[in-house]
């Protein structure tokens, strides 16, 4: 994976997580002022780092991002706001004093347990430690990826090359799950870096559009987090390298959306205890928003999710979930298939081989549900996990 020019990375263990040696601070620094765009949780209970970063994007003078995992700095009152700001101040001090960089030039993200004040002693020495270790190799990049993880079972990265009329650009992304994943927002922590030159307002528009087709279409249990943040850092245009033109932006946007989808899918694929990634295609709704609502309702049904866990073609659960999404469907023109095996058509149950459907679910990690509700051109694709005893055990035992 080629990294975009101009960024340096570090990931260190500051002792915030209880597991010895687990990385819990990530620092990303841009050598020059860059363009930053951000999409954040729409929860009204919002963590201090989100309040801060939201106020600092879009921007064209951003110098980097500091992240801690193991503590969300959410519901922590006024002290939480002071702590989040201090994190960005410490990150700014990783650049030479002569550069004139201040706290406002950094963004901040936190993820972990809600309602505990940050252990600022550990955070301070962790950020200073990370500043000393900044580097631009692949290893440095992976260290930063590790620093943002919480209950993730595996690292989540993606990369793309964009060939515009101006030559080739590189785009890399990292994100983390794995619980408290709900739709209708920019979900969880994700960072995308590129050396393509973009204006701040353009970057913001492209990022929001990509989020709507990727991070806003995934769920694990549908609980909207207080901390979700998706940030894009891009090269700030200069006289020598002006911003991409409209034709190139269209190419860039398509690649950005694909990269965000690739990253986003990894989150339910790594949902706590997940044994299935469920891909839900809805077609035939009046509008895309209607299709989104139906796909989301199916994705959030514990009964649908447990049926997939059990390899059970209990399709009534899927059709009935579509029926209470609050948007029109046409029951008598509705059709459903699982893994391309048709189960329901025109309001009537079909004869099907239950063992064959069951086997198709059991033998693959991916289950594909296709539902056509028979009305119009609206379509959407969502991704979620199954729901199994491992998820419940995990979330019954997760601290406090």
């Amino acid at each position: 994976m080629q990294l975009p020019q101009g960024f340096r990375f570090a990931g260190v263990s500051a002792g915030i997580k209880s597991r010895a040696g687990a990385k819990d601070i990530a620092l990303i620094v841009s050598d020059a002022p860059c363009t930053a765009a951000g999409v954040y949780t729409t929860n009204q209970i919002v963590a201090a780092p989100v309040v801060l970063s939201r106020s600092r994007t879009p921007s064209s003078t951003t110098r980097g991002i500091v992240v801690n995992s193991g503590n969300a700095n959410a519901c922590t009152g006024q002290q939480g706001e002071l702590d989040a700001n201090e994190m960005t101040l410490l990150a700014a001090q990783s650049l030479p004093a002569s550069s004139g960089v201040g706290a406002c030039d950094f963004l901040v993200m936190s993820t972990g347990i809600i309602g505990r004040k940050l252990p600022m002693g550990k955070i301070r020495s962790g950020i200073q430690d990370a500043a000393k270790q900044l580097g631009d190799t692949h290893t440095h990049f992976l260290d930063a990826c590790d620093g943002i993880m919480t209950t993730d079972a595996f690292r989540k990265t993606a990369h793309r090359s964009v060939w515009s009329s101006r030559g080739s650009h590189v785009m890399v992304g990292m994100c983390k799950g794995a619980g408290m994943i709900g739709p209708k927002m920019a979900t969880m922590l994700a960072i995308v870096l590129t050396d393509a030159p973009l204006e701040a307002t353009t970057a913001q528009r492209l990022l929001q559009a990509a989020a709507n087709r990727s991070f806003n279409c995934i769920s694990v249990e549908g609980h909207m987090s207080t901390n979700d943040s998706l940030v894009l850092l891009a090269q700030a245009p200069t006289q020598e390298t002006p911003a991409l033109d409209e034709a190139d932006l269209a190419i860039f946007e398509a690649e950005l959306t694909e990269l965000c989808i690739e990253l986003a899918k990894k989150i339910p694929d790594d949902g706590e205890g997940a044994t299935h990634l469920i891909e839900i295609h809805v077609r035939g709704a009046n509008t895309q928003a209607d299709a989104d609502a139906i796909a989301r309702n199916i994705a959030l049904s514990n009964l649908v999710k447990t049926a997939i866990t059990g390899g059970d073609p209990n399709w009534g659960r899927i059709v009935s979930a579509a029926g209470y999404a609050g948007v029109p469907i046409q029951p008598k023109r509705t059709a459903l298939s699982i893994n391309q095996l048709p189960l329901f058509r025109d309001g009537e149950p079909m004869d099907f081989d239950a063992k064959q459907v069951s086997q198709s679910i059991r033998e693959s990690k991916l289950t594909v549900i296709e539902l056509d509700v028979g009305l119009g051109p609206g379509s959407a694709t969502h991704w979620t996990t199954d729901l199994n005893t491992e998820y419940v055990r995990f979330n019954s035992e997760y601290t406090t």
Copy 2:
């Protein structure tokens, strides 16, 4: 428990359920034409018996209800509609031919697996069998209660006496759960019978109001069923016994609401695998509807539910669930307590003894969550279950 005069009951095993001898047909007959009101699922995918019963309420000439469990007669196309109507025709034939009673004078309910056609051979002989066994004793009543159950671990009944200016009236109710319980509807099958004389339109109004504070405030996993039906049968007013007046109706309505709450709470109390009944009081919302939305969002959060399973005072999950309910809250004036132990106040975490909170959750089946969102006079109470491995195992293994 005293039964209201004028009703006869039966419950028999017709072999629809696979467990030998399990009762799966219930028949309730009124000796005289009675007032009937109904509240039904708002799912667009709606079972044939709901379509039929909905078209027959409110009414002042109803003669009874026939119910089968073990098969929902949902998503069964045109054959399902014919079968539901035949069930009411067979029920009508349990009354003397001379009575002039027809299929339209009976209501019908079904519950069980979705998408399978009714085994009409078994249903026909079951209803005929039930007709022969009709009786007005307590045992007959309990047989009918058993006939409507599916995965319920225990029978769900409630009764009230209403003292009006006209003397005393009796009200009894039965209902069944235990899965596919979502709010925003009249949930699951429930039947209330009374000898109080009520006009049909009045009965309908009182029943809807009672449902809004009871069956519409419970959930197990929030999946809205295709079959939910709540029906009230009351004495039809005559010249000798005219309908209750306004003052008496107010007394009756209060008792009806209390009875419906008592019945409704039994459903999450018996949620599949539930080890906790969670009672969620929301206060301080702008309106009752806003309070409902917040309480529902908390009730539907798998993360809140698994925290209670684990006896974990992970209150950030509760507060963050309130934050994405889509209605205003005032984070800095929000207060939360679990089992009367305060955890969060004025946007700041409180010092609390985590072991004490944890113990209070573990040592009681009932967990009480109280959330004040600091804005206005709106309040609501919802009930749900915890989410544990038993629920997941159960719903992964439930047929098809």
